[in-house]
Symmetry: C2
Subunit: 339 residues, 2 copies
DNA sequence: GTGTGATATGTAACCGGTTACTGAAAACGG
DNA sequence: CCGTTTTCAGTAACCGGTTACATATCACAC
């Protein structure tokens, strides 16, 4: 039913090759012929079949994108960045949500391979998973986003999570806090969370504060996760005065719990987040957090992927974008009376 | 370089048809032969080429999804719903962001047609756009999400925006408010915003409150848009005591402005939102808003599309999901002293 | 031993584009 | 005006699967 270039060729009384040439502007076609072809295309309502083209050219003009959760604004932003860049290159994106499951990531990669995506931009739970090694040894180019560069041979765009965590915890220490806890994402779901906790511990350590295991809780990277974890941390005695959270969602969830208990922020307890989602500056109290350039992360990731595809870049590239400490007012000086 | 079923066939010493049959379990193949083929596939690292299959079967096993902005959690949720449903049917999704531009929507549809998606789930700025008519007359099945059913012949999943707006404005009126303003999304970017404003006006009218044009401002459906618009509405005299916002983002932006002016919510002014994004219940003050089942919207939309694809459903279906008024504490009784 | 139907497999055309190769026509130079 | 080069267009093979149709094999009944 949908017409093909052979139909067009027949109507315009030219060969299929000529139609193809008009379609691709790939070679010179006499203006008169071109017009005839264009008219024929119009006439029979021809719609180009990108699948046939892909089979023939071995280019799908599509890249795959895997994110843990598109509902997290950080990943929504970077996906938007990838998309904008890809679209500007004439590419489409196939999207997959992994729900922070490496098994799902692996499955999505397999589907993407079958669909012959030309490359993948993915944020995975941990780059040390075995399937990443397999992917590395296949010739399918891919770029990791947000992940920890445990392997220098992988293409990756990220920030320095360790340093960022260190800095924001140090901010709490400078404010006088000594009893600091952390609510982290489950380590097996996010290598970022693991490394942020390492930055957290290192900072405590280097400031002569001993770390207690019960002051660190792993949870879901969601409002609900933060809310739940905070309930547990509130039981700690002597009470913690500052909490570093693995992301802003957790931070906001924690704040909700604290408010429900009738405590004040930052008067009784300071909360630090991570990501600087747009919400963070509209929240009350405005969230002190680490800004990471999410949209840029997507753009840079896509850009790197396309450079690899075009051969402009060869070896592994690891791009570390700048983060910054955003001081707002969810963290304040420790309450000396309570100390 | 990547091997094909012909390579596999050669190694296993069978015909390509047999390999294809093993791959698709489409016909009985003797167990011994099957094993030989499977071994050969393993041996030469064969990866199925979905593109070739698509060309041959005329099924891309892919659907297109168009959203105005994936960074809006409402659309992120519904996209997740679509994705989950599609994946469970073995389908992938191609994603497109339109940035609320109908021109972009149209372009994305064209790309999707070329890529031979089997159907589209889209949220468009206004279903009365000309390209929707064109789409309707092409044989590509599609389902609209969130849009207003101006055209009964279109497949669509939505809520009753008019009624929902009416209800929440009535809630404000019941709280004693008489001077109520609205911050709406630009009407040309969102038919929802237009209809919500109609519900708003109708409610005022039926409660004997005369509507003033200057009390309604159109803006971007973002924090920033709400923040900006609220600055203008704060100039209105006598001051408004309640504001209905087209979505929660706008509501939160408006609250930010109000807080910056040193006014109290809901003491001085009540703010009502729309959407009930997860954030709304973590926000301070917790947002009174209209809940709409975003994830479900995606699931239902995808479900409807697949039913159409399978022929299980024929004529146009319009599914109106339930919304609900969520009363929290960003709206309170009007301050009688100020009245 | 032969006929019959079921089962297993092979052959080759087809999906709808691209493109290498070839030939015809036009342009150009002397 | 003729040979050479350039421009324009056509033929057909190819991309990697699917599948209609044909054929071969086998079991079984009589």
């Amino acid at each position: 039913m949908p017409s093909t270039i052979r139909d067009v060729a027949k109507i315009a009384e030219v060969s299929v090759a000529t139609v193809s040439r008009v379609l691709n502007r790939s070679a010179t076609v006499k203006e008169g012929t071109r017009q005839r072809v264009l008219k024929a295309i119009e006439e029979c309502g021809f719609t180009y079949n990108a699948i046939a083209r892909s089979l023939s050219t071995r280019k799908s003009v599509t890249i795959g994108v895997i994110v843990p959760a598109i509902t997290n604004p950080v990943f929504a932003q970077s996906t938007k960045g990838i998309q904008d860049f890809a679209n500007s290159c004439g590419y489409s994106i196939i999207l997959g949500n992994s729900d922070y499951s490496s098994k799902m990531e692996d499955q999505l990669v397999e589907v993407f391979k079958e669909k012959r995506v030309e490359g993948i931009v993915l944020t995975c739970s941990d780059i040390r998973h075995e399937y990443i090694q397999r992917l590395k040894h296949s010739k399918l180019p891919f770029v990791l986003l947000y992940n920890i560069p445990f392997d220098k041979e992988l293409n990756l765009v990220t920030i320095d999570n360790y340093k960022a965590a260190y800095e924001i915890v140090e901010h709490l220490i400078h404010l006088g806090h000594r009893r600091i806890g952390m609510i982290a994402g489950y380590f097996n779901m996010s290598d970022r969370s693991l490394v942020r906790s390492q930055g957290f511990k290192a900072c405590l350590n280097e400031h002569g504060i001993s770390f207690q295991q019960r002051d660190l809780i792993e949870t879901d990277l969601t409002f609900e996760g933060g809310k739940r974890a905070m309930k547990t941390l509130l039981e700690v005695t002597p009470p913690l005065t500052g909490i570093f959270c693995s992301n802003d969602f957790i931070g906001m969830g924690a704040i909700k719990t604290i408010r429900e208990k009738g405590l004040r922020i930052p008067g009784d307890i300071s909360i630090a987040g991570f990501d600087d989602i747009e919400m963070a500056s509209y929240f009350y109290p405005e969230l002190t957090t680490i800004h990471q350039p999410a949209y840029q992360m997507g753009v840079k990731g896509a850009e790197l992927l396309f450079k690899i595809l075009s051969g402009e870049v060869e070896g592994p590239r690891q791009i570390i974008l700048d983060h910054s400490l955003i001081v707002r007012n969810s963290c304040g000086p420790v309450n000396q009376l309570k100390q």
